[in-house]
Symmetry: C2
Subunit: 249 residues, 2 copies
Amino acid sequence: MKNIQSDLNEQLLQQDFVYETEQLQLEQCQLIAQNFVELENGIAILSDLKNNKSYIYSGKIADELNIFQNRNQLEIESIWEDELFNILNPDDVLQKHILELQFFQFIKTVAFDKRKDFCIICKLRLLSNSRSLIHKMFYFSDVHHKNVELALCLYHFDFLPSSDYTGMIINTAEGSIIQQTEVENSNFLSAREKEILKMIQSGKKSKEIADVLFISINTVNRHRQNILEKMRVSNTTEACTLATRLKWI
Amino acid sequence: MKNIQSDLNEQLLQQDFVYETEQLQLEQCQLIAQNFVELENGIAILSDLKNNKSYIYSGKIADELNIFQNRNQLEIESIWEDELFNILNPDDVLQKHILELQFFQFIKTVAFDKRKDFCIICKLRLLSNSRSLIHKMFYFSDVHHKNVELALCLYHFDFLPSSDYTGMIINTAEGSIIQQTEVENSNFLSAREKEILKMIQSGKKSKEIADVLFISINTVNRHRQNILEKMRVSNTTEACTLATRLKWI
């Protein structure tokens, strides 16, 4: 009786902690996003990677840009804020995505308690005129599993139109630049990963891919998993859509 | 009976609103400051102009700069964050103060509901090395009296060391620069205001100043009031201290 009770207690408490922590982190990030928009009139997109959805917080800058006018639509069923991307220079959006993917790879090499010191910053030119936005992005990891669960993108107008720079990963605590990149798209996925992604896109199953490439199905599945992790997407359909858009395949 | 009740009701509700609104605005700004520091590792100083005190929120950048190490001291009895100013280029701090004062004059000309669209941004060089901080500042007005009651200063590292610009007042909603200035100190206070401030500093009372300048005591008092408003300080002692530091007198 005692054991069952203590077991149950432990299970409940643990379950409770997991729930609380995740919920707390989401709520904290939502608050941070709201406060940023409140103060700086910018746009904040909080993406929940696990559930493939995003929360949109749009300040007055959205009116100026004529996007996110549907005020009721605070949530979208995607981690991609296409309505904003569509008014930006496609090359810059591409660089932004590559930078985010690199950042995703990088952050997993950083100890959990140091992760919040890093973010990326890049400049995004508007299609309609010569003005630009500044984009900052932060990743938030799950305290238990160390997975990256949330991504927070902040956008505001750039007031230094003369300054020209490519995106970078920075350490906000030390004020240092970790990585400044304008990466060849082709280097991000390996040749084999791209080959497999193309086959997935054409409708092939893992077994068929394994047969064509003379590799085991386990190897195919490991490649699939690596692709999802590298591209921080939740399924191969999304990976295909993004890779096509990024002209990787 | 009905009238007294409704009067009392109105009075109570109004009193209640005033308290709530002020308290709410302070709490909201404190939350914004906390969230900024939490996310960006920066330093946020929220100054309560009415009560001449400041709340300090210092992120990891403070450790890097070796300031605000006394973690218990979250409040200071001043609206000036001297511990930070002391490690910055004095010319930049001077320009920052002038910009803040100009911004203060400017914001009072803006309709209450539009005020939150404006902020100032400037660059502050560190004394110790070639790095710089970016400073953003926002004013918050009292909803009832339209006075500027709170000032929020945000500091973080600058990641674009090549860009060089003087401070400016910006409209964050439209992304436009309102005023870009490197103002002569001497233009801020009028010759007469400086003359009177010097006399106040030397210990003269309004009556004595009026006699020396052959003007009425009312005129002296109007000048005193204008000086306080222009410099956004609460008393002439502070005005003298600041004006001396800014080498205006």
